[in-house]
Symmetry: C2
Amino acid sequence: MRDKLSMLPSHSPKRVVRAYESLAPIFEFLGQYDKWLADADDSHCDFALGNPQTMPQEEFVSTLQDAAIPQSKDWFAYKMSEPGSRAIVRKSLELLTERAYAAEDIFLTNGATGALLVAMNALIETGDEVIYSNPPWFFYEGMILNSGGVPVAISVDPSTYDIDLDAIDSAITARTRLVIVNSPHNPTGKVYSADTLRQLASILGSASHRFGQRIYLVSDEAYRTVVYDGLEFVSPTNFYRNSIMIYTYGKTLLTPGQRIGYIALSPEIEEREQLRTLIASSQILCGWAMSSALMQHGLSRLQTLTVDVADLQRRRDRLVTGLRECGYEVNSPEGAFYVLPKTPIENDAQFVETLSQHGVFCLPGHIVKMPGHLRMSVTASEEMIERALPIMAAVREGLGT
Amino acid sequence: MRDKLSMLPSHSPKRVVRAYESLAPIFEFLGQYDKWLADADDSHCDFALGNPQTMPQEEFVSTLQDAAIPQSKDWFAYKMSEPGSRAIVRKSLELLTERAYAAEDIFLTNGATGALLVAMNALIETGDEVIYSNPPWFFYEGMILNSGGVPVAISVDPSTYDIDLDAIDSAITARTRLVIVNSPHNPTGKVYSADTLRQLASILGSASHRFGQRIYLVSDEAYRTVVYDGLEFVSPTNFYRNSIMIYTYGKTLLTPGQRIGYIALSPEIEEREQLRTLIASSQILCGWAMSSALMQHGLSRLQTLTVDVADLQRRRDRLVTGLRECGYEVNSPEGAFYVLPKTPIENDAQFVETLSQHGVFCLPGHIVKMPGHLRMSVTASEEMIERALPIMAAVREGLGT
């Protein structure tokens, strides 16, 4: 750890130093990944991040081009959450949750990460505890620490990847302020059932009552449109009044570099008007963390577009089946982008490095607290999957495992 | 103040509550301004914010449209500071400062406000003091408080609007961490001279030495391309090694809703590599506060565009002369967008309200700590200026002043 800290200047703020400890392995991997890409030829197979490995949709491109045509002098002026954008989101949430959201409770942000920052900054007092599931999304821990909070990671059931409700219940204290739920879950792909979410809501409600302190459920729904096998996504916000929904169009459109998402406060949330003011303030204080004018102008058309989920499912199936055929132990995700085979050797970093030498780029599991696994994104193309499978078989055999 | 705090939920984080106290007057004004706009007819004259009052440049629009055409599968993938963007900024900084920046010391952000957040988050430890000039830009105080810092506002010389160097020197303590310099200055339009900046650098250097603690100069150069009367902008970073430059294309292009700017670490900055890591970490922790893929793709063309400064200068001249002719006391800004006439009555909020009833929208000075003034943006059109002047004369006369 001394090593990592010497990477920061003397006198760095304590909360940032702590957060950096959490980021450092990701930074290290991103540096390695950049080198792989720089040396890669056309035959490389990229499963490392949830990035597109096929060309963007034509309709996405033409929507941006049309949205760039100014209809008024203030087309590219300062934007907050524009009334038109709020109306579009409101309508989509009514369809999703069968509840009536107020336009004023919707805040357009620069992606889900921007939304998380705004929510955490608004709600975390120094020392407040934030519960989330382990394995976690890359940046929960670092962002909680950076906001002055205390990360409390609760391991999921390793056989089902389901939330451990009893463990969450036991982990709640008088300082618990937020519980982050991420469904479909990155990296495990788990989609939580209505029954699980109802029980979670009951736990949070009881604990809020017991401690006389409101616990918010932050529902990170970045992957909610990417669900397989006819499973139905149910929003965790449906069951608990003090819920704050986080969404991004970046996964659904497979254009994460365009930074548009939102925060939505549940219609029944307590102190709703005050929370509105708090979130609006936080969004400005967080560096005017608004989605760009252009993306808001295009939103009515953008929100009709989606990545081809059936296609993702076919690739998931091919990858899972193919990996099993060559001896990997792997389960089939219910949603999101990621397949998580066990590595034939314990050291996933070393195994990933070996694969990279053969042009197959994967995320080592230890980075998302799943040592002994790979995380492989099915945003990779079919050709990449077909090219990668024999390589993965050969590398595995070469290890004599 | 009790009134304002009741606007936030119980148990809001202390630093956000303090920051909200600073934001509340702006919020109140923005609410009022929205109402004015909603009720306005085509003849309204809008000087209230630095927003465009004329149609966007055609070349800006075509640049966005062309930049939307994907050249690769990862055209809209996650972006950080792309090598191409860094190279463009690097070259422009070499021309501006005659110094060689390292590409790795440039961080593309979602505007200057995003850049400020990233820098403040990276550098402010709880309780650290941050010095800036009074009158200030809207959000310095709130953003410093939100980062856990202590705002220390130093009034400028009211006759020259120049930085008060002695007062800054006296205000520096062992806890001073950042000194923000904003040239050209919003709202006064002051462009600081090389001599002033050299003296400031000497003060900061001595104080850093005296207290054995590095003080950073944060140079907010949002308006650096908007300078009048042949005056030359000199970057405050030229004179002090531990400087961090903040820039946005939003003012130069008059498209603040598109969110592209940057942070640049000075070539001679101490612990440069560690600072890089700190800023890069902070940018991720601050909600992946990157500029969008599209704006980075368009940057090579965007950076050749600029608002017509000669045109702004003509409008500044017409507005200043016209206001003087009808009896307003007003000085002529050296740069930036704002003309600051004294209000004929002390209560600037009341005067602004009266003007608004006649379709002339101005920012009341008290919001930028200049009570008894208006802030009028010369981004208003010529027609707006011509329509507004007789109204401002009549309102003034009607008051019998």
